[in-house]
């Protein structure tokens, strides 16, 4: 056997990647629902058995809408459970259902402080959990590392929301994205991924309420109409 064959074999391993190419993944990813994003992710989607760190610059830029197609697919098609831990606001059931999530397979746990990371680790160890979405605003690097190891042992998707200020800190997550709103679009920066670096921002057309009905013809008149209606209600 020539040495070049051996080298080729080594390069085929999923945990070895070349600097100029996107890494392959041991498990195919879960399609994100956005073709532009799938193309840029190793494995062609959200990585199974890996920590994905999401760093939204502000709330309300479409950070959850970005995950919604994948979550809907897991709960509906793969009959997997979704676990949401320590959401900062109420997760609004009608909107989740409208987004395609099977509510009978959703578990919400409010866990203060360090319990959130613990609950996350327990969920990763459970059979039947397809995705975990956890908000960890003040997590330590050590527990993030633990979560990454626990995620590697499972096949679940693990999404960790952290403040954008953490972008400058090192992180054990193999995939890190910062999320930024720009008008109607969500701009995704791939801070870190397995394989070659990607520095260009990716505009993603997440589901925005404007695409539905009720476009406002003339905001000012609508406001005054609303006000007059409110007044008539008082009277």
């Amino acid at each position: 056997m020539s040495s070049s064959t051996t080298l080729a074999q080594i390069l085929e391993r999923p945990d070895v990647w070349r600097g100029d190419a996107l890494a392959g993944a041991a498990l195919p990813g879960v399609p994100t629902g956005f073709a532009d994003l799938d193309r840029e992710l190793p494995g062609g989607g959200w990585p199974r058995g890996g920590l994905t760190e999401l760093l939204p610059l502000r709330r309300g830029v479409g950070e959850l809408s970005l995950l919604l197609p994948a979550l809907a697919r897991l709960s509906r098609d793969e009959l997997a459970w979704l676990v949401c831990i320590a959401p900062p606001h109420l997760l609004y059931a009608p909107a989740l259902q409208a987004g395609g999530v099977d509510l009978s397979r959703l578990l919400v746990a409010s866990a203060p402080g360090r319990d959130a990371a613990w609950a996350c680790e327990r969920s990763l160890a459970a059979d039947g959990v397809g995705a975990i979405v956890v908000w960890l605003p003040e997590v330590q690097a050590a527990s993030l590392r633990r979560l990454q190891l626990a995620a590697e042992a499972s096949q679940a998707l693990l999404f960790v929301f952290r403040p954008a200020a953490c972008a400058s800190q090192p992180s054990p997550a193999p995939l890190r994205l910062t999320l930024e709103g720009e008008g109607e679009q969500l701009i995704v920066h791939l801070l870190k991924r397995r394989g070659s670096a990607q520095s260009l921002p990716l505009p993603i057309a997440v589901q925005r309420p404007l695409r539905l009905r009720h476009a406002l013809a003339c905001p000012a008149s609508a406001v005054s109409a609303a006000r007059s209606l409110s007044r008539s209600a008082i009277a």
Binding site: P88, L91, A93, L107, S110, A119, A126, S154
Partner: protein, 401 residues
Amino acid sequence: MLLLEVAASLRLFGGAAKLFADVIAGCAEQGHLPQAALAPTPLAAQWLAIGGDDRACCALDELPQRLGSLPLSVLALSSADDARLASFGARSLADLLRLPRGGLARRLGPGLAADLARALGELPDPRSRFVFPERFAERLELPMRVEQASALGFAARRLINALCGWLAARGGGVSECIFEFEHERGARQRPATVLALGFAGATRDGERMSRVLGERLYRLPLPAAVEFIGLRAEAPAALAGRSRSLFGERGEGAGGESMAALVERLQARLGNDSVHALSTVAEHRPENAWLRVVAAPLTGEKSPASLLPAPVLRNSAAGPRPLCLLVQPQALRELAGRPQCGGPLRLLAGPERIESGWWDAAEPDALGDVCRDYFVAISRRDEWLWIFRSQAGWFLHGVFA
């Protein structure tokens, strides 16, 4: 002596002969060489075993003939009784069985006659059940002295199997067990090396215990060669058996705990109210259009009701709904006729009028009558918000996350 009542289990284990062979093999695995017999009554089985007759005997009417071939020594009678029987001319059990039972009872006391009747199945012979001891403590002598700690794992496996059997019989699991390695007696007797194994939760999984033991043995220094291994365990916690779902919900038996166990565990630490599921309600007021419901994952199959597609309560007239809702609407300032939230908000869609609700206005904690105009608004920092205007002014109610 170990008596097993197997009549009820013959079908499950594939017949008397197979079950008998399995029991013998199981004993051999544990390092015992049993002298066993199979008979329709406990006393007959005991005598056959002592007599060394291990051919299975399954019918009551075979018994007099099979027992008859046994010597009298299997009865373990007192020497006086033995001598009297010899003087009757009885040499084997067959001779004894031929004697009239009434005369036998008068001469040798009722005990022997009753025993014979029990052995032949003429009298019932109830036995008390074996009760497992409260604590588990077993000791095993090694066939040869072991100097290497890592070589102890194999012998310890036998004790672990015994522990798992004890736990399975009690329906429990342990979160700690203690190994004691006694060293060889010599000029300097060393105290036993004690190794306590701790587990994350109560378990009776032998593989898991062996794995933990292997890890620990790998790093254990032994001051001297080991002669005996002891295993102790106390206070087993109740541990229900786990039933696997027929088709495997997911993970293909990855060995993780079930969803039901996860919910229990989270509730145990976070509180029952902190772990819940969500459901929608056909209601127009946003706060009332959803419900916290008890998280009750079905361990196995789905119930017929949940197999039906859930009715999507999306009213075609309803506008967009945000993924995140604020617990309490947050009041917004108004400047120059525009709501403010980190700068003026731009209204993109709306208004959607949501009003009325007088029917629960009198109830405590109910939302009651509302009159709101909802808008989708975008802030200067590109946050998508769900705001409404009511008589009291502008409020932020949701975030299009």
